[in-house]
Symmetry: C2
Subunit: 348 residues, 2 copies
DNA sequence: CTGAAAGCGCTAACAT
DNA sequence: ATGTTAGCGCTTTCAG
């Protein structure tokens, strides 16, 4: 079939001998329009394959009913949960979602922000990329009154609204757990300490050590990215440490899994020789052997809360200006990879 | 700061004492505009924080420079590779991408198609959901001359352009490999045989058996979805088969990993008791133990090819009407989970 | 190389 | 309950 002419409200109006105003109202389900008229209009619209021209609508009404979300990666269990949470809320509230991801690149993050700004999203949800240097690219949104909510990787300075977990507590909990397993030389494998999530977890790690009178040894701190390569390299690095550490708290489940694999390939027994705790509670945790003790970071809740707050702000119910930080519940899930002492692990 | 007035080309024009036409041309980098004039305009635009109003532009120019993509899930390694491939090409070509996912629901897929149609994407890339009944929801696109390319889960009937791998060959290869390991009672765990990918793999499986004079036993065919639960259930089902099968060809790596875990928990040795072959070559393959033999399904290539063809069609270079089916290269990757006989496995 | 002017399809006063 | 009308900001002939 050929690309026929688009049908507009003018076509509907003239076909029904009505004004375009009535048609426009009917299509928006404005209660002021007569029910029968409305039905006639809907039926004809359907029959003529009318489709709303959102450009005309947005051009006129100056808002897009669209929310943007910037994430650092798509291929992450955690991010996917967040996305699911966000989507649930935004869909219910009648907003469209544009997903942009930066592949952990600051440059791309800036480009994404610019793009979403150009697209005139009504609101924005964002998590910073690995190497984001500053928040200047989000300034335009604030300048134009477009609300922004950050999650996970955030900057807490300034008066941004952020949705996070208590990373400090999680780092502390993980480390404390390892200490309770009689571990004394605990490696911490993490990523750039410039990012809140990693620095907070690190602080928790350090403080747990301190509180247990275990000296902090900077040789046991390994900083890398979150790639497979990083997991392998970190494991090799551990193997070189003498005497061998007896535990590792790793800031990401995938890296932990890779690391575990490499250690095992080199004859290290887990948890007997080295106990491991990961972070996030990805599906992978129960597929590797031994199953991976980790911190449960419920992305779906993070997404829902972030989206809910944004939507409410947009609808005028509540105002994120008043809200600075929202902390989502998180907890330690003990599995086999960290259990040196005999304790019944949690189910699953 | 307050939501100040948007600056438009009118503002730029009057500030520079030019006509809006010139400003409009300059902003599009039309070579007809004087270089100096252009520079002045660009500088002022930057200074005044001008941003293009895409709605006005699209409204006027009747195309959106946007491509839509409909996938069944986001939390899949394979889909993420496809997305990466698509994104690479569309970004280079200057198109925006709207990602919609159906959570394997036909209803949502129809809604997504409708939504992308309303959004007036210039082209569409799609993979069918688990239970998609028909392709009626894509008809509107064709009617309006919007090109559609399907990948992975497709309907080959009709004259759709599809990008796929040779699923039949892959099914055959996987099964043949297991047979070469002296396996004779090979379970096939798969999903709805209404979907091309699964039915083709199944046919390959059956024909490989036939060619090796192994009778096809329908009790060894297990059909389920691709969830964790499915993996567990399938494993339990295998355990009940008497005598125990000696191999399983599983249509998805994640399900294979879960299945393997469950089998191991029940004292089954892999590959000694049961050899396993998965499908996709997800990252998980080398993290589970033993490492998982699988079919390499290069999503990134699928994405790139699909996008390239769509973009070329859109730009008038090439025409997908002429192209019916594009087959992407795929291959078997042998790892430990299937090696009963002593053979050097491929690296990694 | 630049300008004038006519819409693209819709919404929201303001009328009736 | 319905109609009239003035734009929203831009692109694109057609004229200079």
């Amino acid at each position: 079939m050929q690309k026929d002419k688009e049908v507009t409200i003018y076509d509907l109006a003239s076909a029904l001998n009505l004004s375009i105003a009535t048609v426009s109202r009917a299509l928006k389900n404005d209660p002021v329009v007569n029910k029968q008229t409305k039905k006639k209009i809907f039926d004809l619209a359907e029959k003529m394959e009318y489709r709303t021209n959102h450009f005309a609508r947005n051009l006129r009404s100056q808002h897009t009913n669209t929310i943007g979300i910037i994430v650092h990666e798509l291929n992450s269990n955690f991010i996917n949960s967040v996305l699911a949470g966000v989507e649930k809320v935004t869909t219910e509230a009648g907003y469209d979602l544009i997903i942009a991801h930066s592949s952990e690149s600051y440059i791309k993050e800036v480009a994404n922000a610019k793009n979403l700004f150009e697209k005139r999203v009504d609101g924005l949800i964002a998590s910073l990329s690995f190497d984001s240097k500053n928040l200047d690219h989000f300034k335009v949104f604030k300048d134009r009154g477009v609300p922004v909510i950050f999650f996970d990787r955030v900057e807490q300075e300034g008066n941004n609204t952020v949705v996070i977990i208590d990373n400090y507590k999680c780092g502390y909990l993980a480390t404390q757990h390892l200490i309770e397993q009689n571990c004394k030389r605990i490696v911490h494998i993490t990523s750039s300490l410039k990012r809140n999530v990693y620095s907070d977890r690190f602080k928790g790690y350090r403080d747990a050590l301190f509180d247990n009178a275990i000296p902090y040894d900077e040789n046991l701190l390994i900083i890398n990215d979150l790639s497979e390569r990083a997991g392998i390299e970190s494991a090799m690095q551990i193997l070189k440490i003498d005497p061998l550490p007896d535990a590792a708290f790793i800031t990401n489940d995938f890296v932990a899994a890779v690391c575990m694999r490499t250690l095992k390939e080199n004859g290290i027994r887990i948890p007997e020789d080295i106990a491991i705790v990961g972070f996030n509670n990805d599906a992978i945790c129960t597929l590797v052997e031994p199953s991976l003790t980790t911190i449960n970071y419920p992305g779906i809740d993070v997404g829902e809360v972030a989206a809910r707050n944004l939507v409410n702000h947009l609808k005028g119910i509540g105002n994120i200006q008043n809200t600075n930080t929202i902390i989502i519940r998180s907890n330690l899930i003990i599995r086999k990879s960290s259990l040196k002492k005999e304790v019944a692990p949690e189910k699953n």
